[in-house]
Every structure is written in structure tokens, then in C-alpha cells.
């Protein structure tokens, strides 16, 4: 441009008035044109680049704002969403909602040995807070090559405060969950206990571990804490009164199979399962942990006679009016079967049960035969391991070959060992109308009766109720009576086996009671191991003097809680419902 203007202006021959027109197309030529084009291209490229960068920035802004990002830095900038912790183990509650087991947070102390500056000092300081720890043990942990060692699990808030006060670097707290059993030993054998990582070790905690894990709602057991306490207390009283080795008992709803209370004594504190019992330090841990109701198998003795009588009545090998000669002891092989308080005469079926005649029961069973007896006991589930929600279950012992002598002894509960749980389940079936229902520790809906299996006819069941009432009214179980609650039952005093012989002085006294027997609702089985006679019992330690009175006390205490209306036992309706025709008008001899 400059060149062109210069060229016109510089033209010396141009006329003065002539000015070149300003809009004349100047077409650069040569190097000028090249320079211009280069500038133009550079401008375009630079502009394009800027536009691209801005576009990228704009897109990124839109992405961050609208889409919400997704890259690492945007995640960090954002707040972490708090999620409630996964439920570890569900609570266990009784049928009324009382907490039996719950999970609580508790801090645990661990160390990172790599950060510990002075292990000796730290160990000494820690032992001053936890006197039960050994200095050497703590020191060894603190100098180990790991970067994580547990010092102590589950601290109390006070201990945590004290450790913080020490101000040792390298010590850290980890929040852990811990199972807590507010009722302690009261429900120990049912609820069981969980180990340090909440793994179930016994009872429901073990048997239903999979159910409890990852469940939010509490697990409701069939247990009633009030009944459990009463049963526990009365059993303990019997054990103390008769200086016995142990005891066991259970309360069951005969129509649904729910277990309302189950106790085995001596017991343990599930919060400190391995700690010795402060009241009875001599009792071995294994003995306290042993569940006598579900795991222990016992020769229960005369309470088994109810099965013998039920078998004979149901198969029709005997009727209520049948009689058996019980005047002389039976000698078979090296055994002599005799009666404890023999009447030495011919006894009728009700009398055999009332006076608990071993001879009579043995003769009744022999009349039915081995095959029938075995078949009947199998039907009642007495020859198989009981099924229940806890895994501590005992397998019954019975003869592989069912000889005549076995038939006789099994008739009165010797030579066969079953768990008290199996016994109670079978006994419930005898009185509830003849339906065998599996025992359960889980609460069933009110009024729900699970499907069972008919094992005896309704008529036999009714006869059994009448006969069991006679035992409490006139027979060996008179002390189990709880006026108004129409108790029926059967006593059993077994000689314990020691080695290959029966020990005379070592007894196992048990009582099975049902109330109200005219319309059975609840069954109570109590058992006391090796009771010793005392002054009040006039030298007796048999069931009639030990567990029968306890059953009476238990019934009188629990019946109002269970809403059982007391009846006038002498009223015509009750009398009619429990009348045994064959004994009408006869004088019943006292036991």
C-alpha cells in the first residue's frame, strides 16, 4: 500500500488537481502479497486455538456442573455420604420383648509397634492401667515386627480414658461390637454366648448364628423371662435344700411345643463364660457349660411308666381295668425287679401308675412285647436325637438288641437314656390329645398350633390325663398338688449308673407335671441330680419329696402369670372330667 501511494505521489508528471481515487484496487504483488497472507493465516490459527481452548474449558465446566464429574478430584471435593453401619448381629428378646442379648459398641486397644518409641516404658504404663496383663507379654507385643497387635479387646469407657491419659504414641482404638447379656446366667443355656468376634459358641447364638447375622429386627424366643426366673429359682432351691449336684427343668406349652422356660443348673455367665463362679468356685467349667436339658441323656426312671401305660392302652394290650400280679419281685438273669414301696398284691393299671409299681409296669410291657415297645418309643421320637434350634443335643442310648430284660427295665425307665427335652416333647403328646409336636425355642403366633403327628388316639390321651391326675391325687405325687390348678403328673426316682452297676445312694429324681390336667396347657419337667435327704424330707430324696413340691410351688407362681384361672377341684364338672370309672365307689389306698 505504502509502495503504491508513494508511487503515485512520487510521480513528478502528475497534474496538480489530479488525485488518484482512494478505492482503487491495489493488488500487491510479489513479496508484499506473501507477507500479508502469512499474517492472515497466523491470526486464524491463533484464533482457532483460543476458541478450541475456550470450548474445552466451557465443556468441562458444563460437565462438572451438570453431570457432576466422575473423576478423582471431583470425588474428593464432594462430601462422603454417610451410610448406616450394616447390622452385625440381631438382638435376642424373650416372648414379651425383654432383651436377652444385644450388641453394644466397645473400643478395643491396639498398637502399631513401629511407632512405639520406648517399648519398656509403654509396657509398664499399660500394665498400670490393665493389672491383669503381664509386663513381659505386653513388651513382647510392642517390640514385634508387625504393624498391628491387639493389646486388649473391649475396654470400658474408664479404661479408654486412662489409656488416653497415658499419652503413648502408637496406641490406637478400634471400635468393635460386643455381645452383652443383661440377664447373665439366667438364660445362659438357651441363649448361649458369642466369642470375641461375635461368632456364636453355644445355645441360640450358635444354633441360629446364620439367622442372627445381618438381621435388623430382634429374634423373638418362646422363652418368658418371668417363668425362667421362677423355674431357675425353684430349681436352685431344691439343689440347695437337698445338696444336689445339679438340676434341670423346662416349662412347655403342650399344645404348641413352645418352650417357655428352660434351665440347667449349675450355669455360667455368658458375659464371662470362662470366669469361675464366685459363689461355687469348685464347680468345674465343663459342668456349668453342660446343658442338662438338651444335651444330657439320663435314665429317667419311673416317669417313663406313663409311656408303658400309654402304649398298652393305645395298642389295646391292656385296658384301664386290667390287672397285673405285683405280689412278688421278678427275677430275670442277674436282675431282680422289685417295688420301692410294694403293695404285694395284684394291681390294676391305675394302681400301677399311682403307686409306681416296677413289677406291674414290667409285666405290662412284657405282655405287649419288645417289638411293640420299640415301635411305640420310636413313634414318640424317644429313640432319635431331638431337633431344636440349639445345637447342643444329646443322642439317646438304648439297647441294640431288645431282649426281654430290656423290655422290663425300659418299662420303668432304666436301660434307656433320653434327654429331658425328648421326654417332655413325648409326654406333651400323651396329654394334649395325642399329637406329637416338635419342641421349639422360637415364639409362635398366639393360638397357632403347628402341624403335628398323631401318636396316640384322643381316647388314650384322655385316659392318660385321668391316670396322671390320680398320681397327684392319691399316689406318689401328692406333694405336687397346687390346689385350684388341677395338677396331674408322675414321679420318677432313678438309681444312677456308676460303672457297670446301679448305685443305690445316687439318685436322679424327676417329676413331670401338667396343669390344668382336665384341659392341659402347660407341662413342667423338673429333675434333680444326686439329691441327699434332709431333715424336712424325713430321710427321703425321692422325687415325691424333692421335685414334686418344687413343681407345686412353680405352678402356684406361674399360673397367675400365664392367666390360668383356678378351678374348684371338687366341683362336679372337674370331678366328672377326671373320673376313672373302674375306681368309682372303691376305696383308694394311700401310697
Amino acid at each position: 500500500m505504502k509502495i503504491a501511494t508513494q508511487r503515485f505521489d512520487d510521480n513528478p508528471c502528475r497534474p496538480r488537481h489530479f488525485k488518484p481515487p482512494p478505492c482503487v484496487a491495489i493488488i500487491p504483488d510479489g513479496p508484499a502479497k506473501q507477507t500479508l497472507e502469512a499474517c492472515h493465516t497466523r491470526l486464524l490459527v491463533t484464533g482457532g486455538l483460543f476458541a478450541l481452548v475456550f470450548a474445552v474449558v466451557a465443556l468441562r465446566v458444563v460437565e462438572i456442573v451438570a453431570v457432576g464429574g466422575g473423576t478423582a478430584e471431583s470425588q474428593i471435593a464432594r462430601f462422603r455420604i454417610v451410610t448406616p453401619p450394616e447390622p452385625s448381629h440381631a438382638d435376642i428378646v424373650d416372648r414379651n420383648g425383654n432383651v436377652l442379648a444385644t450388641t453394644l459398641d466397645s473400643p478395643s486397644l491396639y498398637a502399631n509397634p513401629k511407632q512405639i518409641l520406648d517399648a519398656t516404658e509403654a509396657a509398664n504404663k499399660l500394665v498400670s492401667v490393665f493389672p491383669t496383663l503381664g509386663v513381659a507379654e505386653v513388651f513382647a507385643k510392642l517390640i514385634s515386627s508387625k504393624s498391628f497387635v491387639w493389646i486388649r479387646r473391649h475396654l470400658t469407657p474408664a479404661e479408654q480414658y486412662n489409656v488416653n491419659q497415658l499419652g503413648i504414641p502408637g496406641l490406637e482404638f478400634e471400635h468393635e461390637e460386643r455381645r452383652v447379656y443383661p440377664d447373665g446366667g439366667l438364660t445362659s443355656h438357651v441363649v448361649g454366648y458369642a466369642g470375641i468376634d461375635n461368632a456364636g459358641f453355644a445355645g441360640v447364638e450358635r444354633g441360629l448364628d446364620a439367622v442372627l447375622r445381618g438381621r435388623r429386627e430382634p429374634l423373638q424366643l418362646s422363652l418368658d423371662l418371668r417363668l425362667q426366673y421362677i423355674l431357675h429359682e425353684e430349681l436352685q432351691r431344691v439343689i440347695d435344700d437337698f445338696t444336689a449336684k445339679g438340676g434341670a427343668g423346662l416349662i412347655m406349652d403342650v399344645n404348641s411345643g413352645e418352650i417357655l422356660a428352660m434351665a440347667s443348673l449349675p450355669d455360667f455367665d455368658p458375659n464371662h463364660p470362662t470366669a469361675p463362679d464366685p459363689e461355687h468356685p469348685a464347680v468345674a467349667l465343663a459342668d456349668r457349660m453342660f446343658n442338662r436339658v438338651t444335651l444330657g441323656v439320663y435314665e429317667l426312671g419311673s416317669i417313663f411308666k406313663i409311656f408303658t401305660v400309654a402304649m398298652a392302652l393305645d395298642y389295646g394290650t391292656a385296658t384301664v381295668t386290667s390287672t397285673y400280679d405285683a405280689s412278688h419281685p421278678i427275677r430275670i438273669g442277674r436282675f431282680t425287679i422289685s417295688d420301692y414301696h410294694g403293695k404285694h398284691r395284684v394291681l390294676s393299671v391305675p394302681e400301677i401308675l399311682m403307686y409306681s409299681s416296677n413289677i406291674g409296669a414290667a409285666r405290662m410291657a412284657v405282655a405287649a412285647g419288645a417289638q411293640m415297645q420299640r415301635e411305640f418309643l420310636t413313634r414318640l421320637g424317644l429313640l432319635e436325637t431331638p431337633k431344636i434350634e440349639i445345637s447342643e443335643v444329646g443322642t439317646p442310648h438304648y439297647p441294640a438288641k431288645w431282649r426281654e430284660v430290656n423290655v422290663m427295665t425300659i418299662a420303668f425307665g432304666h436301660g434307656i437314656s433320653v434327654t429331658p427335652l425328648s421326654f417332655a416333647t413325648a409326654a406333651a403328646a400323651l396329654v394334649n390329645g395325642g399329637i406329637l409336636r416338635q419342641a421349639t425355642l422360637l415364639k409362635l403366633p398366639a393360638g397357632y398350633e403347628p402341624r403335628g403327628q398323631r401318636v396316640i388316639s384322643a381316647k388314650t390321651s384322655e385316659q392318660m390325663r385321668k391316670l396322671m391326675r390320680l398320681v397327684v391325687e392319691h399316689g406318689t405325687g401328692t406333694m405336687a398338688a397346687a390346689p385350684g390348678y388341677v395338677v396331674g403328673g408322675k414321679t420318677g426316682t432313678a438309681d444312677k449308673v456308676s460303672g457297670r452297676h446301679y448305685a443305690e445312694r445316687k439318685l436322679l429324681s424327676s417329676f413331670v407335671g401338667v396343669f390344668p390336667i382336665n384341659d392341659p396347657k402347660y407341662l413342667i419337667l423338673t429333675m434333680v441330680d444326686e439329691p441327699h435327704p434332709n431333715k424336712q424330707s424325713h430321710g427321703y430324696a425321692t422325687a415325691g419329696w424333692t421335685v414334686a413340691p418344687a413343681t407345686s410351688r412353680i405352678i402356684e407362681r406361674i399360673a397367675p402369670l400365664l392367666g390360668v384361672q383356678p378351678l374348684d377341684e371338687s366341683s362336679p364338672e372337674v370331678q366328672r372330667a377326671l373320673m376313672v370309672e373302674s375306681l368309682q365307689g372303691k376305696r383308694i389306698e394311700a401310697y
Binding site: V65, A66, R78, F79, R80, I81, V82, T83, P84, P85, N98, V99, L100, T102, T103, L104, D105, V180, P182, D183, G184, L186, L225, R226, Q228, Y229, E233, A482, P483, G484, Y485, E556, R557, P560, Q565, P566, D568, S570, S571
Partner: protein, 169 residues
């Protein structure tokens, strides 16, 4: 024209951008609040658990039994206390209301013969038998007494009804 549309888009873009940022920050602060609430809920749940465990511990049957023994000395309900049902409680003598003669006779009978609630076990069985008879007699009495006056004088309020019932007892 071009300038107007440019302005429109400019305003639209800036408004949208502002709204977007406002929503984003609003959501963030809400999320913060949600997290705070969730944390507080979790803490509260833990506290409730601890309290429930403590409550269960403090109301153990063992503890309650001991406290009862110390302060109340309540015993289990005995059969004597439960023997009488509501029906067995004798009715009070009928007030001198003008009613038919046989009704009065039936209504007054329990008042004459039935003793106040005597512990049942202390009574001889024969006496108990007799009491049962009286109860049988007394049972239809309230319906009979109620049946007569009710149709004639319908209660207008609950108070009146109660007053009538009291008068008839």
C-alpha cells in the same frame, strides 16, 4: 435484531448457569445436612441400644425380686385370691326402688346369705358347695333387674346410665 437475540441467549445462558450453580450448592448443603442427621441418628441408635441394655439389666427379675423384698414384700397371687371371679362377688342390697316383688327377692338373696369374700380354702367344702349355689342364683339377677326399668326410662347420657346401674345395684 441480531443484537436482541444475542442478548436473549446471553441472559438465558447466564441464568441457566447461575441456576445450575445455585442448585448444585443447594444440593450440597442438603447433603451435608442429611449426613449430619444420619450421623446423629446412628449415634442416637447406639445410645438407645445402650439404654435398652441398661434397662434390661436394671429390670432383671433377680433385681426386681430383691427390690420388691426390700420395699414392697409383694408375694405371688395365691389361689385364694383368685378363687372368686367377678360373678362370685355378691351384689349389694338393692336400693328401695319400686320394682316387681319377685325381682327384689332374687336380687336380695345374695345380700342375705352370701358372706363377704372369705378365703375359699378356709371354708369347709360343704359351705363352698352352698356358696356355689348362691352364685348360681345371683347370676341371673342383674339381667332381671336391668330388664324392667330400662325400657321405661332410657338413659340420656353416660352419667345417667351409671347412676341407674348404681341405683339398681
Amino acid at each position: 435484531m441480531i443484537k436482541l437475540s444475542t442478548l436473549f441467549w446471553l441472559v438465558l445462558v447466564s441464568t441457566t448457569g447461575f441456576a445450575m450453580f445455585a442448585v448444585k450448592y443447594g444440593v450440597q448443603s442438603l447433603e451435608d445436612e442429611l449426613n449430619r442427621t444420619k450421623r446423629a441418628t446412628i449415634a442416637e441408635e447406639h445410645a438407645i441400644r445402650a439404654d435398652e441394655a441398661e434397662w434390661a439389666y436394671l429390670t432383671r427379675p433377680e433385681t426386681l425380686d430383691e427390690i420388691n423384698r426390700r420395699h414392697l414384700a409383694l408375694g405371688p397371687i395365691t389361689t385364694k385370691q383368685l378363687r372368686t371371679s367377678v360373678i362370685d362377688i355378691p351384689l349389694r342390697a338393692a336400693a328401695p326402688v319400686v320394682v316387681d316383688a319377685p325381682v327384689v327377692a332374687v336380687a336380695e338373696q345374695p345380700a342375705e346369705s352370701a358372706p363377704p369374700a372369705i378365703p375359699a380354702s378356709t371354708i369347709a367344702p360343704a359351705l363352698l358347695e352352698k356358696q356355689a349355689e348362691v352364685v348360681e342364683l345371683a347370676r341371673p339377677a342383674p339381667t332381671k333387674v336391668m330388664a324392667k326399668p330400662v325400657p321405661s326410662r332410657r338413659p340420656k347420657s353416660l352419667d345417667e346410665l351409671i347412676a341407674q346401674v348404681v341405683a339398681n345395684r
